[in-house]
């Protein structure tokens, strides 16, 4: 029944999906944390930048960001991100677009986590003579992260599925392969869909379960 799969490299395609997810996941976590720090910073310019960035990027469809990254950065400005050949450049641009977009959701999750940390603790830390940066990195963020593992897992799951948008700029990940197969294997089309749906479930389900467990383990007792 699954003979038709033999002529396609399913694993290669999903491997690209996995790489997109890992690189973008790490990047989103870092950039999202920086954005959250900006949004709670005492410097008005930083707060304004953070707010504007979130409101703009979060409300733009990912496809638009993806295509704009490809057309704007690469084809117009010739920025290749050190990619060399065009498929590597496409991959890097896709990662960049995914980070730009998902960092918004990381930031907003983190901000709600920051709100769960009693202000008194930040004040006590300031009263000890810690700087804003130290208060943030030593007291506030460690507790904020622990309280938002579950929401961050949701961002990661959304990110995994959203990597399919990279197909729009020619990255040969799972969804791109699926389009090809849908065209060539129209007689088993439902089976094709099922295979890819199953593939994504294999990626996202364990992530959700694992991080759900981590979330309970690291919760701060108050």
């Amino acid at each position: 029944m699954f003979d038709f799969l033999d002529q396609y490299d399913l694993w290669d395609a999903f491997w690209v999906t996995i790489k997109l997810t890992i690189y973008s996941g790490i990047g989103s976590l870092i950039w999202g944390t920086v954005l959250a720090a900006m949004r709670v910073s005492p410097v008005p310019v930083m707060r304004a930048f953070g707010t504007t960035y979130i409101n703009t990027v979060r409300n733009t469809p990912l496809t638009v960001i993806m295509v704009a990254t490809s057309l704007g950065l690469f084809q117009t400005m010739q920025i290749e991100l050190g990619g060399g050949d065009s498929s590597e450049t496409g991959f890097r641009l896709a990662v960049l677009a995914l980070i730009a977009y998902h960092a918004c959701f990381v930031c907003e999750s983190l901000r709600s986590g920051i709100n769960t940390v009693p202000v008194g603790q930040a004040e006590a830390a300031r009263a000890l003579g810690l700087s804003f940066f130290q208060v943030l990195t030593l007291i506030v963020l460690p507790q904020a992260f622990r309280s938002v593992v579950a929401p961050l897992a949701n961002v990661l799951i959304a990110l995994t599925k959203n990597t399919t948008v990279a197909a729009a700029i020619g990255v040969t990940e799972a969804a791109a392969l699926m389009s090809t197969m849908v065209e060539n294997e129209s007689d088993v089309i439902l089976l094709v869909f099922a295979v890819f749906a199953f593939g994504f479930i294999c990626l996202t389900l364990p992530v959700g379960l694992l991080l759900g467990w981590v979330s309970k383990r690291v919760a701060v007792k108050r």
């Binding site: 005492p42 009693p118 008194g120 603790q121 004040e123 006590a124 830390a125 300031r126 009263a127 000890l128 003579g129 810690l130 700087s131 130290q134 030593l138 007291i139 460690p142 507790q143 622990r146 701060v220 007792k221 108050r222």
Partner: protein, 261 residues
């Protein structure tokens, strides 16, 4: 902001009084609310001052202006001869010299008791780790919670948490300690264990500003009682004078209310 015009007066008073903590003509507003009005207060080295007064009279705000957790609108505040700097590196250094103990303890929930007490030493004073730990254990022993060092704050009783908070502040080797209603959030049976630690601290010569309604503590440990009402210092006296023979009507009224409880 409020329509009240305030003159920015950062300079020291004409005849600068010498004291460890000096507040001169301090004013502060929260919007239209004039929460601190022309506050003059000088605290000598080794002195223990109890601040008392009705809720909302500005006691907490007064405490918090002394380490600039609340900035002031006008006036002058100095610690050990140094005027409070603006936000930044210098202010952080000054805050390290002013210990603060809060009503709600505010221990760092994700850190153990020992880590709570070593954090400031390691990150602000840059003390060697071994030395910081030894120092922390000594202080935890002094406040009577040495055996709780590896627990998390949530595993401790309120009285124990507050004593850890005192140790955390003492670990910075502060010049002055501020206490904002340190026993108000405690169950009655835990109040004394905290007051005893504070009394010992007073006997050891620590300069202290204590917002509290614990008259026993005020009588036995304080050199002076400052009575606040509506953002002003309404009366200053020795504890004996204040409790047995208050001069202002506001103080008489206030005392009659707390004494009947």
């Amino acid at each position: 902001m409020s329509k009240v015009s305030v003159t920015k007066d950062a300079g020291p008073p004409e005849s600068a009084p010498s004291g460890l903590v000096v507040l001169d003509n301090v004013n502060k507003h929260f919007g239209a609310l004039h929460v601190l009005q022309d506050i003059d207060l000088t605290i000598a080295r080794g002195e223990v001052v109890v601040v008392i007064g009705p809720s909302g009279s500005g006691k907490s705000t007064l405490c918090r202006t002394i380490n600039r957790l609340e900035p002031i609108d006008s006036g002058y505040i100095a610690i050990d001869g140094k005027p409070l700097p603006a936000e930044g590196r210098e202010l952080a250094e000054l805050r390290a010299d002013v210990g603060m103990v809060f009503q709600a303890f505010n221990l760092f929930a994700h850190k153990t008791v020992l880590e709570n007490v070593t954090l400031g030493q390691l990150k602000v004073r840059k003390t060697e780790k071994q030395e910081a730990i030894a120092n922390a254990r000594k202080l935890l022993d002094r406040v009577g919670v040495a055996n709780q060092a590896d627990k998390y704050p949530a595993q401790l009783s309120g009285g124990q948490q507050q004593r850890v908070a005192i140790a955390r502040a003492l670990a910075m080797d502060p010049k002055v300690m501020l206490f904002d209603e340190p026993t108000s959030a405690l169950d009655p049976e835990m109040i004394n264990e905290v007051l005893e630690v504070m009394q010992q601290l007073a006997r050891d010569g620590m300069t202290m500003v204590v917002v509290t309604h614990e008259m026993g503590f005020a009588r036995s440990a304080a050199n002076r009682v400052v009575f606040m009402a509506d953002g002003r210092i309404a009366e200053e006296a020795t504890p004996d004078q204040f409790f047995s023979n208050p001069r202002s009507d506001r103080a008489k009224d206030f005392l009659s209310k707390i004494l009947h409880h």
